[in-house]
Amino acid sequence: MSGSRSIPRRFVPLRLRRASSLARASIASGHGSRSHLARHSLLYRIVEGCPPDLDDFRSYEVLGRPYNRRDFFKGVGVSMRTTRERAIAIARYYRQGRAVATVDIRGAQVAWARTGGQGQTRSGVWLKPDPVVQTRSGVWLKPDPVVQCDEHE
């Protein structure tokens, strides 16, 4: 898989935003009052344990796993939740990981969109350009977007 592929125009979600314009975008779209994300620019990622490592943020693209171009965003992205409570519930329910990392995506070179249905708390974060690949220091991002990690088991 090449990292330079073009994004099929019809797959671009309407609410796809740059992280840096997160709060403004959420307010403009009328979701400011109920969006934890808009207030704090925080997202929650289920991880194996604390502290999380790079393997906790691998997308299909980074892993080199093939996927259908119809699933482009699922292939280059990672799933996150907009509330810590929901992330913990999902982690327990689906047995996905022992901990939840709080991620501050302000300033990160990522794009995001709320991908769950109405009333749900799922978000997709698309790591493009991929910060895992691009980093030169061995640190995931500068500044490191993982601001907290809590084990729930």
Partner: protein, 66 residues
């Protein structure tokens, strides 16, 4: 309302949630068609009954043309 959730246990990504199991199976099958080894770590869950569905990806494959 029941939702069928497609999960990938390798990336911990939720690949979709659908109102019918057929749609969830179609999503899973797309990933399996792209990479047959994906069948080992893709799951479909019934969100209401709190159960993981037993899915045989081979059974989902469309019959080859005669």
């Amino acid at each position: 309302m029941t939702r069928f959730v497609v999960l990938d246990q390798i990336t911990r990504n939720q690949l979709g949630e659908f109102p019918t199991v057929e749609e969830a199976e179609a999503c899973l099958l797309r990933f399996v068609n792209a990479d047959p080894s994906a069948a080992e770590h893709l799951e479909i869950w019934d969100d209401e009954l709190d159960v993981r569905l037993e899915i045989d990806p081979a059974a989902l494959r469309p019959a080859p043309a005669a």
